[in-house]
Symmetry: D2
Subunit: 509 residues, 4 copies
């Protein structure tokens, strides 16, 4: 339980924002239940109306225990640290406020445009007239007016040309501030404001490739868990920067937020540094039986919505994905995949969708996604040759609905225990780890039909302690990181750098 | 392939002795096949008759690959290093020689006696008259005469009192040299001699306990694989001494030669230092299907015979055992267990028999053995409490044919990666390893009905590299050792010492 | 070089605050030199007058190279990371502002009082009348008025009783907010405000002991460098909290900011958690020759002043100290020690002064300080017995001007390389490290005349790379930490806990 | 104290042989002092005359403590393990026996010859006539006869051609058995025999190069201490083989027995595998003051004599050397160097002599040796560039008596702590270690004037624990090994292989 007193200096509403409470949160204001939220990895907010001036108590009970009320949060190949793992904030509101802004860049023959959708909420007791004033890229824009009824949220939308802007790209990740001021009739000063940071770029999938701003890209990057030896999931900002620096140093251009939406400060860094992001909802390796949990549909739907709504404006995110390694090889599973992909596509048609599958030739859902993605671990869980296997995977994809779609190796890797070196090169040594990574990268960089390769994983991560298959996670860790939980580079680090940077720069290592 | 030239200075027979060839050996003398042997862990010998003086070549092709010809040697939880892993010797023979001597001590109300059986072989072409002269404990004994036909082996047996000898015990492991000289009629000098080292002690099982020389003992010790980071299975003698020193330093009084007969130099050290030995034949974790391998019966029978015949005289060996964790929970398996136990009992009725079972309440063979033994891993493979579990195991034994028999915890333990320490104490840390060992030892030293506890395991060992369940063996090792493969003590070392020595001698640690 | 644009929305002065620039800083505003500062470890601020609205550039060139312009910053037993190692801030000013507040608690027979000194600065062009309104512990206080001439700073002082407050102590570190509002004649709203957090406690030295609030205390704690494997000297706040947690977990009640003033966020944490602080100026191991550097006096004087002025209000700081292990054994050195101690005493008479000496019987300055402190390393740099040595040190102190003064073992310790364990317990093993720490703590907790023992050191720290004596710092680290640079506990951790907590709480370890 | 009973079956003399007793030995036979020896690293033998049949006791008191009686054995940069560190043997003698044989190969225009010197000792009470019969390389040689007086040793010498033999070389290390039978007049059977293993090769120094069999060689190899984590100085034979394998795997062709004569089994392996050996007497880093120790001259003289006499027949030894890093930069030191070099040259003129110096331009003894050798540590103890430094060293040599002589870099290296890796590459990391080794090897393999480069050192070694400069030996080890004390390869291993093998064979690493 977290407990904190806050001093409120004027009567009115407040809004409590929690960026990440792991894994379920019950919020109390002055001891009275004020809200409940499920899922560690999506933000949520609560409005408390009519708060009197004075000292108040905000309390949150956060619970990361496993149980019946949880469909997505189960003993797993990563650790669910408990507590408030991301920042919290308090906002003072007036009757009207800007709930959120969604910015969609559009690339036309005539130049860049942008569609800005604004969501204005009335938490007062009377209908109110709202007027919005925007600025973006040195342009002031009158975004229109609307009446908002008590308890309702009204959407305003405007599309404008933005000639002369610099588009966002990996090599030149230009960002713009989109500032909104909300005015209420009868008041001169704005009653709310909101500043979002946006970028101009498009994502498309054509000819079996992925394009950003119309140019083909190939993702070279990492799967990354929010896990750190010294901080659990609550990674301090400077250590996030450190992670980014390490990925860039190895030549990566992308990161997959496996297996849940990430801290927005990390996404901000990706925006700033030009790292492409595959963001996905929260689920890993759920069986069909687990997907039949009565709360599964609702919890996924919430997660998908919160993910897309709160992270919509990050230009770095170029793929939304769902349900890593779940039962997409069954008809019932297919129905669920279809439903969730449709939910997301309805909210955001500007980004391609995917999911990471390990079902090989048994996969049933490739036709539903825009990009087909494989999690395969040649030379680790089996003895297959990576080059043969990736070619076979392409055939599986082509025959099962993925023909003509871009393809990504969304996971591959091997265990390598930091500091365990041996000339025998047995499995688990850093030498063997480096060799397996090399043989995978050698294969994937040599075939013409891949649009991405995402190493499992950036850094080692703690896992749930247990028995059974969890005993393959020595030391209660998934040790497939290229760096360890302290971010110490393993021998594979230089190998990744060689393939991602494109040449061995030994003098700099 | 090993190849070596030898200079023979006089015409006659020679005997080639191989103490351990891993895993199958084909011996050639001057390029001509001279013998074949299966099993890395039992010695064998070949007689080459009529060798001319001069230089000859002995060659051995040793093969440790897995295959159809092998029922016992399969991918497993230890590594089968290839090659000649134990010493080899060459002996010059005359027509008659002493093949082996078996010494059986007898404890009577009147004092100690000993039965000495001698096996005399005739490799000449004529019947020969043999006469044997023995000495033991300052007594000279005329052991009788016999005629031996060509190609035959004759057994001579004599039982003598040995008043005044000091019995062998753990605290005073007194050994005697038993010297035999073999004379052939018509020759003054002996034609062969053999010196065995023996001890006077008896082993019995009464009242649910194990007795040595009539006194109850409780085994406190280790399972040990012949494996060393620097030497594989071919452990240099000084490093064997080092292993013995470490075990004694921790207060152990016993060692189990899991899961095969051991190097006789190690057994010699156990004789000298008073360490009780559970020696067992070569098999681990074979399923019923594997036990139906067409060569299984023959390979086990050979192993059992070679083990008992060659190691019979070691007083330290107090238990013979078979078939670790095989299918003793099935009727077909039971038939095999019965047959092998009967084979061994027929060769040696002076030692109790056992086998280590992990079948819990499903075990079907407790009635066949003299001692019931459990391999259980509370707090590692499951979450059971060791104290509750050992009590339950006693009930399982009592209800399934083990009532009134001594009981041993023949395996228990947990992974602990040397150098991996963390205050979180997660599974795999040295801290957790030490804690699990402590909770097991605490339980087993507190119950009155146990006759032994053998920690899995003395030192970490390499395993077969592979996939599937072998991936639970991080770093291609079984990391449950109290010391690592280099013999570096883990934190659990002090815990074992505390329980085995009986008191914390912190000043010596 | 750091470069950043800032948007100023109204014309006026701004103040740039740098909490720590390592090691020298040259600040530029719109390309024009705006200030220079020497010393990584003390904050400084610059006022830029008459800034026009619009976008401006702040740039800082930070340099950590060694050179002639630096007397205190030399190749040393810690690493001088370069850059902005602590936060920076920008403040918008009006003509008058509160430069700082100094709060001094007073404990009288009638209860607690506090003296509040306020420093008001006029950066305008006209004389201004200032009025101050304070609040502290639910009391509103009119703090008086003053006229401030252009370019001048005026001090206002007021002493008030604060009945009913809860004093600050280690076990109950109660803090109060001291809020000041500054009003300028002719304006209704305050032109500046400042909130300081203060505590009520006194420090004294009587009867050879140190008292806080009149009660004897014994410091049990650590020397700590601002160094972290993952962050250098720019330790993220959550990792500062982690350090504090580790120290408290071991039972420490104190920390020495060796060998420089610390980040104020760390001091805030000490205030909050009740950790006593020995803060000292920036100097380590300077020879007399180095102390004769032409800039030495000036650089020390600045450091002392900035340290005392900026950290004055932290109740956790109970000792100011200077010049660790410098030439206090020479007459010239003595003059310098005297001068600096007088400088500090003139600024703050409420705290006792000390310095850490390794000169043993040759020390000449014990009479100048309030507390005598020894850096000795029995069992590491020499073979002396800690108990004998500490008694001898007391005699040295008594005979050299320290008679009747409290005494602290300000440094002792030994190398222990994390992960290097060996039953041989040779120097450098974790076992030997733990043993040396134990023998020191055993001695120091057993003698009645010590007021403190500060282990060298909390965590390993990087050092300057070099030759000569720096080669005793294996791995370019000082490895005497109880935790390593990643904060992994060494075996000594449990030993410290045993002695500092006062009992072995094994169930919690 | 070691104590052992031996059974002697016939009356007569026995000879006790000790291959290495560390560091002083006092031998007792049946409790009566029988001999004393100083120096751990040279063999010695004692003759006990007139031993009666029956059981006798041999006892040895071995002492490795430092003290006044020891000039060479002082606290040092290696550890002097105590005890019998090499084998011991017992021989039964008759009145005459062969004390030793010295074989000297001679390369002539007509083919190979060999000079064989035999030393026959009479331990009886009467003059005896001795006759010797030899065989070598399939030739039987009558080596002559001699009368030997009681208590005397007679030398017989014979020079014979050996046409058709294969010379010993690094690439084809052919060895021959030299068998000697000693006959005493009036007896048909030989009274003693001795088999030595010899090789035909010559060593010379001409034109500033070293020649073996007339061909220039360049030594690429290691300094090696007899030290092992698991065995101290008593390295089991299989682990010696392991060391040899590692050196050959790296491409080395030579080893220096720093800083004492080595175990003859190791020299045997060098003979067999074709590794050139620089063997040197026992001394390291003794100051002039230490060289003035009253026992210094005698102890060195003994060591030199025992070294040359007992190791004379090893073809692998191609250099004798003395007094590593002692006071050869002083006139008094020079006298000692001259005297010892003359002593050795008088015993063996077939091998060139050297000594390793760290005195740079101050060296005074280069003229006395056949080869000039430098111990320099560029990039470790100083910041010099290896290429510049080696060129400068050549100049120092040329100007100080070494003109025209071959030159060897007899030591260079850096600390590298196994397992300590860091992208910072600070001193002590494996990365920096590898880099320093690389920069040294790059320089030394590029200059035309070097005849050898011997890395300091093959494996890490334990050192004397202490204070002062010994604190630069972190963990009480000299950590400059290319492998650690367990023989685990550091990152530098691959670097050495690259330079010694001559090409990067990455596929095999």
């Amino acid at each position: 339980m977290y407990r904190r007193t806050v001093d409120i200096t004027r009567k009115g509403a407040i809004r409590l924002v929690f960026k990440g409470a792991s894994h379920t949160a019950d919020v109390f204001f002055d001891g009275i239940p004020a809200g409940h939220h499920y899922n560690a990895y999506t933000p949520f907010a609560l409005v408390i109306p009519d708060v009197e001036p004075g000292t108040h108590e905000v309390a949150v009970i956060v619970d990361n225990s496993f149980g019946e009320s949880s469909a997505l949060h189960v003993p797993n190949d990563y650790y669910t640290y408990g507590g408030l793992i991301r920042p919290a904030a308090i906002e003072l509101l007036q009757e009207l406020f800007i709930e959120r802004i969604a910015f969609t860049p559009i690339r036309t023959a005539e130049g860049w445009q942008g569609t800005i959708r604004l969501y204005i909420r009335n938490i007062g007791r009377r209908a109110r007239r709202a007027r919005l004033q925007l600025s973006l890229a040195d342009r002031d824009i009158a975004a229109g007016e609307a009446s908002v009824m008590p308890g309702e949220t009204v959407e305003l939308s405007i599309t404008e040309p933005f000639p002369g802007i610099t588009p966002w790209s990996a090599s030149d990740p230009t960002l713009y501030l989109l500032k909104a001021n909300l005015y209420m009739e009868g008041q001169e000063a704005p009653v709310d404001d909101l500043i979002e940071r946006v970028g101009f770029r498009t994502v498309s999938t054509e000819n079996g490739r992925i394009q950003v701003n119309g140019e083909d890209i190939v993702l070279k990057g990492f799967n990354r868990h929010e896990d750190h030896a010294l901080a659990g999931a609550a990674i301090p900002y400077p250590l996030m920067v450190h992670d980014i620096e390490l990925m860039l140093d190895m030549g990566a251009n992308s990161v997959r937020t496996s297996h849940y939406p990430n801290d927005e400060r990390f996404l901000d860094l990706c925006d700033e540094r030009g790292l492409f992001v595959w963001e996905e909802n929260h689920a890993r390796g759920l069986s069909l039986e687990q997907m039949k949990h009565p709360l599964f549909a609702k919890q996924c739907e919430d997660c998908n919505r919160e993910m897309v709504e709160t992270h919509y404006n990050h230009p770095s995110i170029i793929i939304w994905a769902i349900l890593n390694e779940c039962a997409s090889d069954t008809p019932e599973g297919r129905a669920i995949y279809r439903s969730q992909l449709e939910q997301i596509r309805a909210m955001d048609s500007s980004r391609p969708l995917s999911f990471a599958s390990h079902h090989r030739e048994r996969e049933l859902c490739f036709d539903l996604a825009d990009i087909v993605s494989f999690n395969l671990y040649p030379l680790w869980y089996g003895d297959e040759d990576p080059l043969e296997l990736v070619k076979e995977a392409r055939r599986w994809a082509d025959e099962a609905g993925g023909l003509g779609k871009p393809m990504i190796m969304s996971e591959f890797g091997a265990d390598g225990y930091y500091g365990y070196r041996d000339p025998s090169r047995v499995k688990g040594t850093e030498e063997r780890h480096a060799e397996i990574i090399e043989r995978n990268l050698e294969a994937y960089t040599s075939v013409p039909f891949l649009s991405g390769m995402l190493i499992w994983q950036f850094s080692d991560c703690k896992v749930t302690e247990g028995t059974g298959w969890l005993l393959t996670r020595a030391g209660t860790q998934n040790s497939k990181g290229i760096v360890d939980r302290y971010r110490r580079p393993k021998l594979a680090y230089a190998v990744v750098k060689k393939y991602f940077v494109g040449q061995l720069r030994s003098e700099q290592e």
